[in-house]
């Protein structure tokens, strides 16, 4: 589905009445959710690559692993981890939306309200997550061991 939903094949016929029936996907919000799904997926894949390599250091020595893991605890890396969580959360929730569009009879009809649901759910989780992670980063930076 991913590579076909934003297809340009039907665009010329629709130019006459853009957005009139609410079925337009290309150029509309639905297309941007598809773009965001790709970007968050690719970013997560690159992190996975790095993350397997850093975890593999447990096979080298405890010191090597601890040294590298220590970098994940610096405030800048906490911001990076927050970004990773933001990407993964969007990809996960939008992935459910994609499945509902594909498998649920009313899915295509409700793709836009479902996208709003994804974004609200994402916001509801990422805000407390950000507060929790940033608070701990600051606490560790100033009073931590």
């Amino acid at each position: 589905m991913a590579s076909t939903t934003a297809s340009a094949a039907e665009a010329p016929q629709r130019e006459g009445n853009p957005r009139a029936k609410g079925s337009l996907y290309r150029g509309d919000l639905g297309m941007w959710s598809w773009v965001a799904h790709r970007i968050t997926g690719v970013l997560t894949f690159f992190f996975l690559f790095v993350h397997v390599l850093d975890t593999a250091l447990v096979r080298v020595s405890p010191e090597a692993y601890d040294t590298v893991i220590e970098t994940y605890k610096s405030p800048i890396m906490i911001l990076f981890e927050l970004g990773l969580l933001a990407a993964v959360l969007f990809h996960a929730f939008n992935g459910i939306r994609v499945m509902l569009v594909d498998f649920w009879a009313n899915g295509p009809k409700y793709q836009k309200p479902m996208l709003w649901t994804v974004l609200v759910l994402w916001l509801v989780l990422i805000v407390p997550a950000a507060i929790s992670m940033l608070t701990r980063a600051v606490t560790e930076l100033f009073g931590g061991h």
């Binding site: 996975l48 096979r59 993964v88």
Partner: protein
């Protein structure tokens, strides 16, 4: 309307030149795999991130001893192995789709995909090796 270059054009569905039996079901299965693995990864990855980033001090409590403690349990070994394989294949297949969509030259497409397959093989293979040969007393 002007015609566009071959890589960007697609046969009309009932075009007589289109060979009837040239397609395999691979893309159908990969499409289905993305959805099935996605459902499982949703729980595996969000669970993993909840534990590693939020519970009991989050990322600040992670070190070699913490990993050794977790992998003493077959449950977490199995969790991590499943997550590694599904994430590697799900992400690899996703990137394969992205490469197929955006590379214009056949040579570029070929080499990008080779690079992708080697990195997926390397990460999933290395991760599996580490999980099966982990020694908590290595130090």
């Amino acid at each position: 309307m002007t015609t566009i270059d071959a890589p960007l054009s697609v046969d009309k569905p009932r075009s007589p030149h289109r060979p009837a039996a040239r397609r395999s079901n691979f893309e159908l299965y990969s499409w289905l795999f993305m959805r099935l693995s996605g459902v499982l990864l949703l729980f595996l990855v969000l669970g993993h991130m909840l534990i590693m980033l939020f519970l009991d001090g989050g990322v600040h409590r992670i070190n070699f001893a913490f990993v050794a403690g977790r992998w003493a349990s077959p449950f977490w070994q199995f969790w991590d192995l499943t997550m590694l394989w599904l994430a590697g294949l799900h992400g690899g297949n996703g990137l394969r789709t992205v490469i197929n969509d955006y590379s214009r030259k056949d040579a570029t497409r070929f080499w990008l995909k080779m690079l992708l397959y080697v990195s997926v093989l390397l990460t999933v293979g290395l991760g599996t090796f580490v999980l099966f040969t982990f020694d908590p007393n290595i130090g």
